[in-house]
């Protein structure tokens, strides 16, 4: 046990910080052409992803031919912290880089890697992740979107919903049912679908905050014909791969959640003294001060808990902290925004200014505290709602019997 990373890790931090300062897209450049959804990559974002790929900074833990430098997990943490603090996204296509590309690299054929995964890494293509459906949210394995093998092709019919970035993405990593007679976990396959294939209709779903830039979409598939060669991995093995795909997401997501908590809390504490001074009574100040202190304690706890899970992951063990972290850190972000709004009093209802710096995504609450509060539900609902995380903890970590 120790508090600090070693000298070589801190040297890595300096090296990346310097590289980042010299090579990053400027805030003006980013603001001039904001990203319109997580499937949309403006030119600066494409150039930036490509530059990171070429110089081994896109996914530091991967080998150079895949945009990395074989960095260790501690270096990866440092890298993500520095990027987050600089407010520079690695990519605007979060699902593409975070889930779709690594999944294709893990399970796809060489030609699929060349045609779909590498273009994401080089900033040439964007991808969306077709998982949730109207009747398959928390019960994802109940998905119904049907792919029928017809000679050399799949014919796909069905509907997806909450598909981030589908309105701009080049292709979809689509989960569909290929064996309706098998138990629900065993009849699912993954197919790569170009979004310009005839029969696909995308309907954006404007969100609760900032409806002018919808990231979420409904995707309707009517007799969409896709080459059978676009199957990823084995037929009917999609559920097992889904768990692998999401593991890519869960391994480091805690860090972004904690960084989001920390940055929001720093902002809140910076404005707190003036807000507290403006309150009507000492008693109200005391009540609100206690709320702020609780947030501070929880934010430090989130970082410590994240590191505790990380230490286990690094050593190859199980880390039940991942489910705890998803639940705790996203709820904490919500509470920070809520306390921020309550501290503002009636001025909380004022609309915030949207900072179009090109980094906003549904995962990154922005705007006034009250808007951030509403926006934060994106994270407590998606990728396994808080209640699902609690079930996972109760059943898989604590061993409580299924009902």
């Amino acid at each position: 046990m120790r508090l600090r990373f070693d000298d070589s890790a801190e040297a890595f931090r300096l090296e990346f910080r310097e590289w980042l300062a010299a090579n990053r897209p400027s805030p003006a450049e980013m603001a001039a052409e904001p990203s319109l959804s997580t499937g949309h990559a403006p030119q600066w974002a494409r150039d930036w992803t490509r530059k990171m790929f070429d110089e081994g900074w896109l996914v530091p833990g991967w080998p150079p031919e895949r945009g990395g430098r074989n960095a260790g997990p501690v270096e990866t943490i440092i890298y993500m912290e520095e990027l987050y603090k600089a407010r520079v996204p690695r990519t605007t296509n979060v699902q593409g880089l975070g889930i779709v590309a690594p999944s294709i690299l893990d399970y796809g054929r060489e030609d699929q890697i060349e045609e779909y995964a590498m273009p994401i890494l080089r900033g040439e293509k964007t991808a969306c992740l077709g998982m949730s459906e109207p009747d398959a949210g928390s019960d994802l394995a109940g998905l119904k979107c049907r792919a029928v093998l017809d000679g050399e092709n799949f014919v796909i019919n069905g509907q997806k919903v909450w598909t981030s970035g589908a309105n701009y993405a080049d292709f979809c990593f689509l989960f569909c049912r290929t064996d309706p007679d098998a138990p629900k976990h065993k009849g699912i396959s993954i197919v790569l679908v170009d979004m310009n294939t005839p029969g696909i209709t995308v309907r954006p779903l404007p969100e609760i905050i900032h409806p002018e830039h919808p990231d979420l979409n409904e995707v309707f598939l009517d007799d969409v014909v896709v080459p059978a060669a676009n199957l990823v991995g084995e037929l009917n093995n999609g559920w097992a791969m889904a768990n692998g795909s999401l593991a890519h997401e869960r391994g480091m997501v805690w860090l972004n959640n904690v960084l989001s908590d920390e940055m929001a809390l720093d902002e809140l504490l910076a404005e707190a003294p003036a807000r507290l001074a403006a309150l009507d009574s000492d008693m109200e100040r005391a009540v609100m001060t206690d709320a702020l202190v609780r947030l501070q304690i929880d934010t430090v706890a989130a970082r410590c808990l994240g590191y505790r899970g990380f230490a286990k992951l690094v050593r190859g063990g199980d880390a039940p902290e991942q489910a705890l972290m998803k639940w705790f850190a996203t709820e904490l972000r919500q509470t920070i925004a809520l306390v921020g709004a309550e501290l503002e009093g009636d001025d909380a209802v004022r609309m915030g200014e949207v900072v179009a710096d090109g980094t906003q995504s549904v995962d990154d609450p922005q705007g006034s505290w009250l808007e951030q509060y509403f926006h934060s539900f994106a994270n407590t609902i998606s990728a396994g709602a808080s209640e699902i995380q609690q079930n996972i903890i109760a059943e898989r970590v604590l061993g409580l019997p299924r009902a």
Binding site: M1, R2, L3, R4, F5, L269, A272, P273, L276, T289, D290, L292, V293, R294, Q296, I297, D298, V300, A301, R303, C304, L305, Y307, R308, F310, A311, K312, V314, R315, E321, L324, W327, F328, E387, Q389, Q390, N391, I393, A394, E395, V397, L398, G399, L400, P401, R402, A403
Partner: protein
């Protein structure tokens, strides 16, 4: 930050757990609760001394093992897991740190603790000092002094300084407490004369006073660790019970209403435990964050035990409400640890000052 224990630390923990399973069974705890201990408490202390545990945090120069506060914390946790009736907390995490941090290196007291020959505790409260030639006279009263009745020496923190006073010089009145494995007393100093060689911190010595703050951080963190370790046992016991207790034809732990409560309890235990070890690390590495981390740990322990004691008792149902079931040993220990050295409100108030949110900030003091 690396939060994994080293193999040496894990070995220490496993050994401690194995030893205490035999040396401190629930029957020993029950005998203390029922007032019929027949030498078991003394035998337990002898065992701990034979194992060298009191020496853990004492510097090697003073005859100790010179290990860090993380190792001390591991032992504190294991003792808490078995609700050990032992002067370890008072001697090793209260008396010894004050002596060590307040210029008492090389004194016979640390060597005495390391050798297991000296039991100590800490008294603070409404106590004043008055200079008398090269000596001082100490007046006043401290309440809730842990293990005072069996202590040999007492660190007395007065308004201005800190002293080591022989327990025999004080009037010690034990008080009835809800957890008799943590016996407490009111300690009165009626004009006790303290010679110069027993002065740890001269009144007015601000650097010495900083040692008081550092030592206080150790005592607070030990109490937080003790509280959380106790909560973890309550949580584990309740969890196992929910797996076997059947109603409506199935284990009660299969009901989602209970599952979510267990998930929440687990979160609070893990949070409080992570913060307690974070605090232990700031002490072990003498990191500047040791000024606030112990209070965060203690405040988190407060939140943890509020939930775990409540749900632990509630989810056991009637059986947990009985004297015959052992659960109440842990419930009462968790509560006792919570109230010692400041509860949640006191520590959050201190943290509010540390965060600069209170314009009339005061220095941290705990009754």
């Amino acid at each position: 930050m690396d939060f994994e224990f080293t193999s040496d630390q894990l070995e220490l923990r496993d050994n401690a757990r194995a030893v205490l399973a035999g040396a401190c069974p629930p029957s020993l705890v029950r005998s203390v609760f029922e007032g019929n201990d027949d030498g078991g408490v003394e035998k337990l202390w002898s065992t701990l001394v034979e194992l060298g545990w009191p020496a853990i945090g004492v510097p090697e120069a003073d005859g100790g093992l010179g290990l860090t506060f993380v190792e001390t914390g591991l032992v504190v946790e294991e003792l808490a897991r078995v609700v050990a009736p032992s002067p370890f907390l008072a001697t090793v995490t209260q008396f010894a740190p004050f002596v060590r941090e307040c210029g008492g290196a090389g004194s016979p007291w640390l060597a005495g603790v390391a050798a297991g020959e000296l039991r100590g505790t800490l008294a603070q409260g409404e106590i004043a000092e008055e200079k008398d030639g090269s000596s001082y006279r100490v007046f006043g009263r401290a309440t809730h002094v842990l293990d005072a009745a069996t202590a040999d020496e007492i660190v007395v923190v007065t308004r201005g300084g800190a002293f080591v006073v022989p327990a025999a010089a004080a009037k010690i009145e034990p008080m009835p407490v809800i957890d008799p494995t943590m016996p407490m007393a009111t300690v009165t100093f009626a004009d006790v004369r303290v010679d110069g060689d027993r002065v740890l911190v001269e009144p007015g010595d601000t650097r010495g006073r900083a040692g008081v703050e550092r030592a206080m951080g150790e005592a607070i963190t030990a109490m937080a660790l003790s509280c959380v370790a106790t909560c973890r046992v309550i949580f584990e016991t309740t969890l196992e019970y929910a797996k076997v207790r059947e109603q409506f034809g199935k284990p009660i732990g299969s009901f989602q209403a209970l599952k979510h409560r267990f998930a929440r309890m687990y979160l609070e235990v893990e949070k409080a435990s992570a913060l307690a070890y974070f605090a232990a690390l700031t002490i072990a590495e003498d990191d500047p964050r040791r000024a606030t981390a112990p209070s965060m740990a203690k405040a988190a322990a407060n939140q943890c035990q509020r939930l775990v004691v409540t749900d632990g008792l509630q989810l056991h149902g009637g059986i947990g409400f009985t004297w015959e079931n052992d659960l109440h040993f842990w419930l009462k220990r968790a509560k006792t640890c919570d109230f010692m050295f400041g509860g949640g409100a006191a520590h959050r108030a201190y943290l509010a000052d540390a965060l600069g949110l209170n314009p009339s900030a005061k220095v941290l003091q705990f009754p």
